[in-house]
């Protein structure tokens, strides 16, 4: 497994994603991008849908990418990488390429959970050999913090504002990791920016498999979550500790929870640190809503534990 030393050495040696981007100060996206790219030894080709990472890394005529990178539109990164990978296979067959090249997508939750879900599902079903990393910051950040299907219940978003009648987003978040797992692809995982070595290990394990691989990474957005700029790691860590965002893998259909918090940290601990949930602590309905959020976190955690029991890696 790649140690911090190896990751750091690779970062020194070959800087795949440079510092010349315009992501916000304190944004978690570059940490995830660098960790993923450093965990892969082979040459890579990267695709990104429209979103913060794309806009902040590719303003013509500059670029932050030192690896081949392609952006086409918002909803089609998985289809684009399908084409890149198919061309690779075709050129290999014709003897025009002999080296091993790996294919990676970095897509936001909007480009993955919502508008890009169909293209993603198609690419997974067809079995293209690529790694899809979802930089899940739980809203459409690039366009001004609109709600996505990854946005947690009650969070304030510009299209799900805290109003007199409706307090933020009414719906629960979609469980995309399980939807992806249902495609029966070889490798599926959840990770968080707070656990970078865990993420690097996951990437390395994933890349051992041929076919589609998917990692859903909780990627703090201080701007959209309304948290201090230096809190990205702490925020993601609390999400893991409260079991809101379990770190787990589904490898060839077998579940493994990578980290089980010893104590049950109530979800309030995470909610109360973020501006997007502030209203829950001011509104008289807040207590009841927090209880609902907690109940859903518990339900999903229990369900995951049971899946691990039934379809564990040893079982």
């Amino acid at each position: 497994m790649p140690s911090i030393k190896v990751l750091a050495e690779r970062e020194e040696k070959r800087v795949r994603f440079t510092g010349g981007h315009t992501l916000c100060a304190g944004c978690a996206e570059p940490m995830v991008v660098r960790t993923v790219l450093n965990a892969i030894e082979d040459p890579v080709v990267v695709a990104s849908p429209t979103g913060c990472l794309e806009v902040a890394s590719s303003r013509f005529p500059a670029t932050a990418w030192n690896v081949p990178w392609v952006h086409v539109a918002f909803e089609n990164a998985a289809a684009v990488i399908s084409g890149v990978e198919a061309a690779y296979k075709a050129l290999k067959k014709r003897g025009l390429i002999d080296r091993r090249i790996r294919f990676v997508v970095f897509g936001g939750d909007g480009g993955t959970y919502d508008i890009g879900l169909q293209a993603l599902s198609g690419a997974l079903e067809r079995g293209h050999d690529f790694l899809y990393v979802c930089l899940n910051n739980e809203a459409y950040m690039n366009t001004g913090v609109q709600r996505s299907s990854a946005t947690p219940k009650c969070a304030a978003a510009t299209t799900a504002p805290v109003g007199e009648v409706i307090p933020g987003k009414p719906q629960e978040r979609k469980d995309l990791t399980e939807i992806v797992a249902a495609h029966g692809i070889p490798y599926v995982a959840q990770a968080a920016v707070s656990h970078l070595i865990d993420l690097a290990n996951k990437v390395e394990r994933a890349m051992k498999y041929e076919g589609p691989k998917f990692i859903n990474v909780l990627t703090t957005c201080p701007l959209g979550w309304r948290t201090p700029r230096d809190s990205a790691i702490q925020q993601a860590k609390l999400a893991v500790e409260t079991r809101y965002w379990p770190l787990y893998e589904v490898i060839e259909g077998r579940y493994k929870i990578n980290y089980k918090p010893k104590e049950r940290v109530p979800i309030e601990e995470w909610l109360k640190t973020q501006g997007r949930f502030r209203h829950l602590f001011r509104d008289p309905r807040g207590k009841e809503l927090i209880a609902q959020i907690q109940a859903e976190v518990d339900r999903r955690w229990e369900s995951l534990l049971r899946k691990e029991q039934c379809f564990g890696q040893e079982g």
Partner: protein
């Protein structure tokens, strides 16, 4: 080698001879058989192409873009709603200067849903930046699919090229088609030269960056230059194709008995075949009728069309789609082309054949009969074969 085959098969055979690295395609009537024939070639080992059976046309074009940017030669085909779904990314293919060749089996757009031919799909992507070619027969569809590859890949152009063939009329009817020998076709097509391919990992490039007001305009201007280079390349490719095929392609349009014609119909696609019969009938009656059938529609060869029409008394431009709220798209092209002339023919616009409505020889004879009676150019639509 002459074969009796459908337009589908003719296009699929051209694709087999091109043998692109990647074909990403999604079925839709009346295009599906192209996808089916090609899948058959792949599954029987006739081609080494990677076939991507995508889950939508949006993904078909997206995968083509990925594959072309990666450094592969790619092709696809679609129709109607499929084109409508992919149009967002078709613009991007053009903006990224990717030489993707696509057969478009022309079919009407919903609503009401209808699977039959008109040109509303081609008109929908008129301003996409794709080169558009119209064909009259399965033979032309085959020939231009091969020529399109050369036009698209020419370094002066590097743009997607759409080869239009009328749904059902051309796609589903069996016609005699002369196919080139495989080696001759392959030699004509030549090797693909990728530009800054993604797969050249030692020379990383950023594809599809975002551009602000400080650069966007210049990048789009460069794209327009690619379009402006098409006419020259088109003629060169026609010349070479005529040489290897023994067929005679010269010019942006076919002018049928148009040289001395006083009354001319301008029409795209298979209806030109019907119009030729009508022209002959008029000529037999001693009326100087003629036909202009543009092969190249985008870019529009305005200067040459004006030259060809300048001596006519009256010209009927036939559009097989509405451009709602204004005149037909082809009519407006021709009207603009004629504007610089000092003496212009009377120009009228007919809408015809929507949703597969038959257009017959008597219909077009009637157009020729009407033309001499029209005294002034009109800015009002006339219709062929419509109940009102």
């Amino acid at each position: 080698m002459r074969k009796a085959i459908t337009g589908h098969k003719a296009v699929a055979e051209a694709m087999r001879q091109v043998e692109p690295d990647v074909v990403a395609v999604y079925p839709i009537t009346p295009q599906s058989e192209i996808a089916e024939y090609y899948a058959d070639y792949v599954h029987n080992g006739l081609v080494r192409t990677e076939l991507i059976p995508v889950e939508s046309e949006h993904s078909a074009m997206s995968a083509c873009i990925g594959a072309a940017a990666a450094g592969g030669r790619v092709m696809t085909a679609t129709s109607s709603q499929g084109l409508a779904l992919m149009v967002e990314v078709l613009y991007i293919a053009a903006g990224l200067r990717l030489p993707i060749v696509m057969a478009l089996a022309n079919r009407s757009l919903s609503a009401p849903i209808n699977i039959h031919c008109d040109h509303s799909d081609a008109y929908l992507c008129r301003d996409s930046g794709a080169v558009q070619i119209f064909t009259e027969s399965a033979q032309e569809a085959y020939d231009y699919t091969l020529m399109a590859q050369r036009i698209a890949e020419d370094m002066r152009v590097r743009l997607p090229v759409i080869v239009n063939l009328d749904g059902f009329t051309l796609t589903h009817t069996v016609q005699p088609v002369d196919l080139l020998e495989d080696e001759v076709a392959k030699k004509f097509i030549g090797e693909f030269k990728p530009v800054h391919p993604l797969l050249d990992v030692d020379h990383p490039v950023t594809w599809g960056p975002f551009a602000m007001p400080d650069y966007y305009f210049e990048l789009k201007r460069a794209q327009q230059a690619g379009m402006e280079a098409v006419p020259e390349v088109f003629l060169e490719v026609q010349r070479e194709f005529s040489r290897v095929s023994g067929r005679n392609y010269a010019g942006f349009f076919e002018a049928y008995k148009a040289e001395d014609a006083e009354y001319v119909i301008v029409v795209l696609g298979s209806t030109a075949g019907t119009a030729k019969v009508a022209v002959d009938e008029m000529r037999a009656r001693g009326i100087k009728a003629g036909l202009l059938k543009p092969w190249l529609w985008r870019p529009f060869p305005a200067w040459e069309i004006a030259e060809a029409l300048k001596n006519a008394k009256a010209v009927a431009v036939l559009d097989r789609a509405f451009s709602f709220g204004t005149m037909g798209a082809l009519f407006e092209d021709v009207a603009s082309a004629l504007y610089p002339l000092e003496k212009r023919p009377v120009l009228v616009n007919y809408i015809y054949g929507l949703g597969g409505r038959d257009t017959t020889v008597p219909d077009l004879v009637r157009v020729f009969e009407e033309l001499p009676k029209i005294e002034k150019a009109e800015w009002a639509l006339r219709y062929i074969g419509l109940r009102e």
